[in-house]
Symmetry: C2
Subunit: 385 residues, 2 copies
């Protein structure tokens, strides 16, 4: 098995972009990623997209993307695992390069979410949950995460203020990311007085509906000098796991078993521990998610994710900076693009190119991407080559 490097990384500007469709967004991100390389060809394309069908009436993105990028002919596939689609597409590309089936692999994550109305978007996002049991009985996505939050607060004393502190931190980081959807500093009081969505979650606890794309170029590590223009970033490990699709099937709704398993697999494969990680991009689709994920990744003890954010340890300059990009909360959450954009942020940080949000000399970064309420998760660790 060959070692694999990231030699190009880019994302489109994210936001509510009515003038751009799936193709425009993807081309913007891919051109940025390819411009960082000297590759004169692409051998394989992997697209991460959750539901082109429900958001844009377009499936078969393999052919759409190969065509619009000028690569018609090149093998292309789309990977889906709800909001973890980007991470899963990255893994698929990694496997092909590692196996020696191709040399230059392009990964593009994309979602075009704002062409449908609110009800349609809620329905589309609900397809990440259990349609026949959860959604049929009236559960929405914020409603499911709200139940996790209520239980976490009950069991561990996690506070409303700690939830707010996740949003405040991530919006503060997003101010420093030019591609982020929101550039707005917010206060805990503003989070706590924003509109109710599903108690205890309020509007500013929720990641937004976003149009956006992100792209990566991978190649074997031993070709990275020849094919890349910048210092290569090495893929140290990818851990991947699933859990029950429905929340009601789990023994403990305060545990993200898929994240725990994916992290355990990634740490083992990379021979690293949580304390060896210098920064992490995690799946803060709701503020409670970041709190639970930091526990599942071993950055905080069980039940102490709220205390971790409150301590400032996850801020830029803290012990373990989390979501320096602004996270899903402030950077935005075009579902299929998110997992790829997390890795773009790690690449930028590991190269020392993150400007105002740069973490001091990181050597290893972790990205945790999650589908549904934790029905699937993928944890990737990148390092300085």
């Amino acid at each position: 098995m060959r070692e694999v490097a990231v030699i190009g990384a880019g994302m489109s500007r994210w936001g509510e972009l009515w003038h751009q469709d799936l193709r425009d967004l993807s081309c913007e991100a891919v051109l940025k990623a390819l411009a960082e390389t000297k590759a004169d060809r692409v051998d394989s394309i992997h697209v991460g997209c959750m539901t082109g069908g429900l958001f844009a009436g377009q499936e078969h993105l393999a052919s759409v993307m190969a065509d619009c990028l000028g690569f018609a002919g090149v093998p292309a596939s789309r990977s889906e695992s709800a909001c973890a689609s980007g991470g899963v597409a990255f893994k698929a590309a990694y496997a092909e390069v590692a196996a020696g089936l191709c040399d230059v692999a392009l990964v593009v994550g994309v979602e075009k979410m704002t062409d449908v109305g609110g009800d349609e978007a809620t329905y589309a996002l609900g397809t990440a949950a259990d349609q026949e049991y959860e959604c049929y009985n009236g559960a929405t996505f914020p409603g499911l995460y709200a139940m996790m939050a209520v239980r976490h607060m009950h069991e561990f004393g996690t506070t409303r203020r700690q939830l707010s502190q996740v949003a405040v931190k991530n919006h503060s980081n997003g101010l420093l990311n030019p591609e982020a959807q929101y550039h707005a500093k917010i206060t805990a009081e503003e989070v706590e007085s924003s509109a109710h969505v599903a108690d205890p979650l309020r509007l500013l606890d929720c990641s937004p509906i976003t149009d956006g794309a992100a792209a990566l170029v991978l190649c074997p590590l031993d070709m990275a000098k020849k094919l890349g223009k910048k210092a290569p970033v090495k893929v140290l490990a990818i851990g991947h796991a699933t859990d029950t699709i429905a929340l009601h099937s789990r023994k403990d709704v305060c545990r993200l078993a898929a994240v725990e398993k994916a992290a355990e697999r990634a740490y083992k494969a990379a021979s690293l521990k949580p304390e060896d990680i210098d920064l992490a991009e995690v799946h803060d689709c709701f503020t409670i998610a970041e709190i639970m994920v930091t526990e599942a990744l071993g950055f905080a003890r069980r039940g102490e994710g709220g205390k971790l954010v409150a301590s400032g340890a996850t801020a830029i300059g803290g012990k373990i900076p989390v979501n320096t990009s602004g996270g899903l909360k402030s950077k935005g959450h075009p579902v299929g693009a998110t997992g790829v954009a997390q890795l773009v942020e790690l690449a930028v940080q590991l190269r020392g190119e993150a400007g105002g949000r740069q973490v001091k000399k990181p050597s290893a970064g972790l990205a945790q991407n999650m589908g549904g309420t934790g029905g699937s998760s993928i944890v990737s660790i990148l390092g300085v080559a």
Copy 2:
């Protein structure tokens, strides 16, 4: 890179199955495939499904499948490339086993199509074409293939009767496949007097709307004796390619460039020629498709696919039997399952277990799976190990 074997293969009964959902269908196929092995675990799951979102309101099939199969925890991904989703899922699993990332990989292709009405199904299938240009302007899938048929008839003298002969042959083969949707012998006259769909294509030129699933178990070839109960089948090569998504972007609508490229790559990787193939399962979503595909695969010269079927060469017992399973036409076409079921048929044939439809001592079989009007295609060659 490790050599890879198929050690288990199975499909559910296919048809209009209102009593079975995505999970029921998948479990039926997977249990059959696993029963052919001695594997006591599954390391990775790959689901092929075109549009769970539009047909069943359910995406995130990675988690749904891992959960309903009793494998929650196991890494799982869904692959999509329209009607080539099953073939692409097979390739993704193959890459992981070849790379050494996992040993026992489960592939399941599934589609539940009959829970929506005709208009909704037409819309869902149209997402395999170019939504913004073709579908927006009124093209349907049968309409696009009808244009290809008209041009092929004009350019090469392909006849209405030759189209019918594809349907007659495949329904004749389907009679011998217990899992097929249709068990009905039809005549050329019946095809030619069936309802008009899109001139020149009639109802009996079109593959049906189907519920169904198919499954395969893969492992490294050197573990196949230990993990399998039956003679292993070896994966000789997988070729994969794309073409423009829209028909109007192609220089020649009578050429399936993606199929030609995918076949060229597969033949080269397997060091085989078209004449070395003993049977083929090809993507006869419409009768004209089988004619064009047999040309693209090199079984007939360009423009002579109609003559090939008329000669009897593609019948069981002919020089190159095509669609012994009944093909999409008679076996059915649950879009995401089709590519996997083609490989199930090859495995069954290569083991000599195909009963009344058995081809005489085949040593190599080819499966050609196609997305849209040929926007993507994947060609896999399996052989006796």
